[in-house]
Symmetry: C3
């Protein structure tokens, strides 16, 4: 048994989960926040059997898109609030996926 933790963009979470459950996988959604852009995203946890891992990863990949977001860096102001600088483009990937080995799996 392996545990997939897939961090995906908010707009891709629904389609990923729908495709995973449609293929017989089980999944749980956590609403999370990206550390850099501070935008809401989603972390999907799915425990999958080793022989089905590859299929699950393909489903995740096929339902996620890479998008461009803008990050507005700020400079400290001499008086009052920090002021915004020119926004920079940031590439936000389809999915960032961690696969973790599960020592024990129980349905209690």
């Amino acid at each position: 048994m392996q545990l997939i933790l897939a961090i995906v963009q908010d707009e891709d979470a629904g389609p990923v989960i729908e495709s995973l459950t449609g293929a017989g996988f089980r999944a749980t959604r956590i609403n999370t926040v990206g550390g850099f852009l501070r935008k809401g995203n989603a972390t999907i946890i799915a425990g999958v059997e080793r022989q089905r891992l590859h299929r699950a990863l393909l489903i995740i990949r096929d339902n996620c898109e890479t998008r461009t977001e803008f990050f507005v860096p700020t400079a400290p102001g001499e008086v009052g609030e920090p002021y915004p600088l020119d926004p920079i483009q940031v590439q936000v990937g389809g999915a960032t996926v961690f696969v973790i080995d599960v020592e024990r799996f129980e349905r209690l």
Copy 2:
């Protein structure tokens, strides 16, 4: 040190956590959403020492109940909205538990 990730039904989360902390365990609650029924549930994370793992799993099992939920599948409509079909019964288990080995545990 092992990390328990236990996905439980929302109504069982409080009792599970109360019993775990009452027995001296530490736990953290994540409010999550089931991928299939899309109902709010809870994922409890509890780092436990190997020799206390069995006790923690018993506590989780004893505070969770299996329940029946209804899932309304839909069929595509010929005009307009997809229409609901007869609801089907779905068995939602007590707890789905993953036990993960922790390589390093720190209290900083």
Copy 3:
């Protein structure tokens, strides 16, 4: 690749994340709830390369503070509501950190 799961106090989460991303680390924030005090806290997930783990842990440690919180135990009432007893002091640590080995890391 290793996965850090760091449970920190709500007020330290922002500074921890800002310092991690400022040092080039990637991080995702989960809003969680402490099992004992039932106060909102945060669980930060950060996948880091093995050789950068030590640096990441130092950043987490340096941005977290230990604080004192109060826990009000209750006694069962003879009539009506349980009644509160004298509050007890509880030490809430800087950070509780689990480091987990990642079997496979993918950017899809």
